[in-house]
C-alpha cells in the first residue's frame, strides 16, 4: 500500500531522490550520543530546533483564544489560564519554552565557540546563527508584552525607550516600534503581528539557511 502510494507520487513528482538525499546523507558517529556519551554536546542545536517546533505548535493553539487588543489581551490570557482545557499547560509550555530555548541556544553557541567550529568554511553559518540568536531575543521581547499585565507593560516601556537613543532617527524609530508617541493599543497589535508573523517568517528563512549550510559544509570534528 505504502509502496504503491509512493510510486504513484513518484510517477508525478519524483520525490524519492529528494528523500534519499536527506535520509542517506552520512553523519559522522562522533556526534551520535548513543555511540559516545560526550557527543551530547552536539545535540543542543537539534534540541533547540525541536523546542522551536514545540513553540510553533503551542503558539498556534494559544492564537486560537488570544485576542490582541487593549482590554481582551489580558482577559483572554486569563481565560486561557483558567477556563480553556489544557490552556494553562500550553501557555506555561510556551512561556517557559522560551527560556529553555535561550538556554539551549546559548549552550549550542558555546559548543561552536569552544571547538572553533565557525572557522573557514563556516564563517557565514556563524553569522546566520548569530542572527537567529537575535531573532530569538526578539521573540522573547515581543512575546513579553502580549499578556498586557503590569510586568509586560512596564518592561516593554523600558525596552522600547532604548530605541530613542539611536542617533538622528531615534524618535522616528520609537514612533515606528511603538506605533505612536506612547506605548498603547497600536504597540500591542504590532508586537502581536511581529511575534506571530514577521519573526516566524525570518526564523524559518534563517533556519533554512542554517540547515542548508550545515549540509553543504558537513559537521566539524572530531577533535
Amino acid at each position: 500500500m505504502w509502496t504503491r502510494l509512493v510510486r504513484w507520487i513518484d510517477e508525478r513528482l519524483m520525490v524519492t531522490p529528494l528523500w534519499r538525499d536527506i535520509a542517506d546523507h552520512p553523519v559522522p558517529d562522533h556526534v551520535n550520543p548513543s555511540e559516545h556519551v560526550k557527543a551530547f554536546v552536539y545535540c543542543f542545536g537539534g534540541v533547540t530546533f525541536l523546542l522551536i517546533i514545540a513553540q510553533f505548535v503551542t503558539g498556534m493553539f494559544l492564537a486560537m483564544y488570544y485576542v490582541p487588543d487593549l482590554v481582551n489581551s489580558y482577559t483572554s490570557t486569563s481565560y486561557i489560564m483558567h477556563h480553556v482545557i489544557f490552556g494553562a499547560q500550553v501557555l506555561a509550555m510556551h512561556n517557559w519554552g522560551s527560556s529553555l530555548i535561550i538556554i539551549m541556544v546559548t549552550l549550542h553557541m558555546l559548543r561552536i565557540y569552544w571547538m572553533g567550529a565557525y572557522r573557514k568554511p563556516r564563517e557565514l553559518n556563524w553569522i546566520v546563527g548569530a542572527t537567529l540568536m537575535l531573532l530569538m531575543l526578539g521573540f522573547g521581547f515581543t512575546g513579553y508584552l502580549l499578556p498586557w499585565d503590569e510586568k509586560a507593560y512596564f518592561a516593554t516601556q523600558v525596552g522600547v525607550n532604548f530605541v530613542k537613543y539611536v542617533p538622528y532617527i531615534g524618535n522616528w524609530l520609537f514612533y515606528i516600534v511603538a506605533g505612536g508617541s506612547k506605548i498603547g493599543a497600536a504597540t500591542l497589535s504590532r508586537f502581536f503581528a511581529v511575534h506571530v508573523l514577521f519573526l516566524p517568517a525570518g526564523l524559518l528563512a534563517f533556519l533554512g539557511l542554517h540547515f542548508l549550510m550545515i549540509r553543504r559544509n558537513g559537521i566539524t570534528g572530531p577533535y
Partner: protein, 237 residues
C-alpha cells in the same frame, strides 16, 4: 533489507559514519524528546506568571525583565550612572547605541577575529579572553540586575508607608505618634501599624486599603502598591 541498503550499511560502517535517517535522527530525537518532556513536566507544575492588568498610572510597580534580559537593563543602568559621573551625558548615544552596535559586530565577527591555526581554546588566548570577558559581563550584570531589583522591591513598601501612611499611622518609632484632627474638627486616633499583622489578616488589610472604614481616607493606591503594602503590613508582628 534489500541489496542496496546492505551495501550502503557496510560502506558507511567502514567510513565511521551513519545515515541521517533513521540511525542518527532517531537517537538524537531521544535527547530532544527528553528536553520536551522536561518542559511538559515543568510547565505542569509551574503555571505561567500573570500579574494584575497593566495600569500605566501605577507608580509603585518595579519593572523586571525576563531573566535573560536582566543584563541589558542592568548594564545601561550602571553604565548610565558612570557615564553621567564622567560628564558625558550629552554623548549618551555612544553608550546607548554605539557600544551595543560594536558588541553585536564583535559577536557577528567572531570567525574573522579568530585567526589561530589551533582548535584548542587554551591555545587561542584571544578567543579564550573574549569568552571569559563575555561570560563575566553577562554573569555580573545579570546578578547585579537581579540584586538591584530585589533591593528596589524591598525598599518600596517603606517608601509607600512614608509617603502615604506616616502622616497618621505610627510604625514603631516612625510616623505620627499622636492623634489627628480631621477636616471636620473631629479628633481621631489612627491605630499604630507596629503589630498590625497580628491583628488583621492579609485579606482584611487589603480590604481596608481598598475601601477604608473608620475615618481613614481612600488612598487610591495602584495595584502594585496594594500588593506591596499587604505583604509588608502582614509582616508587622
Amino acid at each position: 533489507m534489500d541489496e542496496h541498503n546492505e551495501h550502503r550499511a557496510r560502506e558507511y560502517q567502514s567510513r565511521g559514519v551513519v545515515p541521517f535517517w533513521p540511525e542518527h535522527l532517531l537517537k538524537e530525537l531521544v535527547v530532544g524528546l527528553v528536553a520536551v518532556a522536561a518542559l511538559v513536566v515543568f510547565a505542569h507544575f509551574t503555571p505561567a506568571p500573570l500579574g494584575p492588568p497593566a495600569d500605566p498610572g501605577d507608580w509603585a510597580f518595579q519593572p523586571a525583565p525576563d531573566w535573560y534580559f536582566y543584563w541589558v537593563q542592568s548594564f545601561f543602568d550602571v553604565g548610565g550612572y558612570y557615564w553621567s559621573v564622567l560628564g558625558l551625558a550629552n554623548l549618551d548615544w555612544i553608550l546607548m547605541f554605539a557600544i551595543p552596535v560594536v558588541g553585536v559586530l564583535v559577536f557577528m565577527g567572531v570567525p574573522f577575529i579568530d585567526r589561530y591555526p589551533e582548535r584548542r581554546l587554551l591555545k587561542r588566548p584571544l578567543m579564550l579572553g573574549i569568552l571569559l570577558v563575555g561570560l563575566s559581563f553577562f554573569g555580573y550584570f545579570t546578578a547585579n540586575g537581579v540584586y538591584t531589583h530585589a533591593q528596589l522591591t524591598k525598599a518600596e513598601p517603606m517608601a509607600i508607608y512614608k509617603a502615604s501612611c506616616a502622616t497618621c499611622h505610627a510604625l514603631g518609632t516612625l510616623g505620627n505618634q499622636k492623634g489627628v484632627v480631621q477636616l471636620n474638627g473631629k479628633y481621631i486616633y489612627p491605630p499604630p501599624l507596629t503589630y498590625v499583622g497580628d491583628i488583621l489578616t492579609p485579606t482584611q488589610i487589603k480590604k481596608q486599603l481598598l475601601s477604608p472604614v473608620g475615618g481613614m481616607p481612600n488612598l487610591h493606591l495602584p495595584p502594585a502598591a496594594v500588593t506591596f503594602m499587604v505583604r509588608f503590613l502582614s509582616a508587622q508582628k
